[in-house]
């Protein structure tokens, strides 16, 4: 059962990611991106990263995806056919993407990865919180400053000129 759900999540992620980049309708791409992000959250669960799965759902699906759909709605006349869009130079792009895929697969299969045994933790929230406020305090503060700056900049950029 676990094995089946694992491969189901993997298949869902990969297939919907293909729809994201291949679909002709922008809104279908956004909906497929929803499934992809959901699948990635499922992969985090299989990797014992419960906190990351929650953050993925909250920030990616609840924040970024809603923002992207807002962007689609604001920049297209919904009733018009311009909502559809086409890819250009699919041959060259596909060739480069497949070449990259082959290259990365070779690297993955030929490298003897370091692996250590571990026991499954009951939760990771406490560990992540401790690390964020001790070992990674400076990156944590820097990224919050960056987020503040980016959000102020985005608000400034998108408001009406007067």
């Amino acid at each position: 059962m676990t094995e089946f759900s694992f491969w189901f999540v993997i298949g869902l992620t990969v297939l919907s990611a293909a729809v994201v980049v291949l679909s002709n309708q922008l809104i279908y791409s956004a909906m497929a991106l929803l499934l992809t992000l959901f699948g990635v959250a499922g992969i985090y669960v299989f990797l014992w990263a419960d906190f990351m799965a929650g953050v993925q759902l909250l920030v990616y699906i609840g924040g970024i995806l809603v923002l992207i759909i807002f962007g689609i709605m604001l920049t297209n006349r919904i009733s018009s056919v311009r909502l559809s869009q086409t890819n250009v130079q699919q041959g060259v792009g596909g060739a480069i993407a497949i070449w990259l895929m082959i290259l990365i697969s070779l690297v993955i299969s030929k490298t003897p990865w370091y692996q250590a045994d571990a026991i499954e933790p009951t939760e990771t929230v406490a560990g992540v919180g401790t690390l964020l406020l001790t070992k990674y305090l400076l990156p944590f503060e820097a990224i919050s400053l960056l987020l503040l700056g980016a959000l102020i900049g985005a608000a400034l950029l998108s408001r009406k000129e007067n």
Partner: protein, 101 residues
């Protein structure tokens, strides 16, 4: 399920699809979706290495920082795209090549 390589291959597929989307899409928002796929692929790698490297949580912190960066990037990129749409009435990046109106 207990194999590191499975996760790495999934991340590689997501990364390649994202690169394909960034290269071939014309619509600015669709390019942004490709970038999100690439960032998610990197995140899967971080968390997978964290899990199979003895469950130390440093990889989770890196993935967390990547998610925050993705949020900031999406906000700024959409603000820029909406500005381009207001000025040029298109968000196809090949048509929006003028630096000045």
């Amino acid at each position: 399920m207990q194999e590191l390589n499975t996760y790495l291959f999934v991340a590689a597929i997501l990364f390649s699809l994202g690169v394909f989307g960034v290269m071939t899409r014309r619509n600015g928002i669709a390019i942004l979706m490709g970038v999100e796929l690439i960032l998610n692929a990197a995140n899967i790698n971080f968390v997978a290495f964290s899990r199979f490297g003895g469950m130390n949580l440093d990889g989770h912190i890196f993935a967390l920082l990547v998610i925050v960066l993705a949020a900031a990037e999406a906000a700024v990129a959409l603000a820029i795209i909406i500005n381009i749409y207001n000025n040029l009435n298109t968000i196809n990046v090949d048509e929006a090549s003028a630096l000045k109106e």
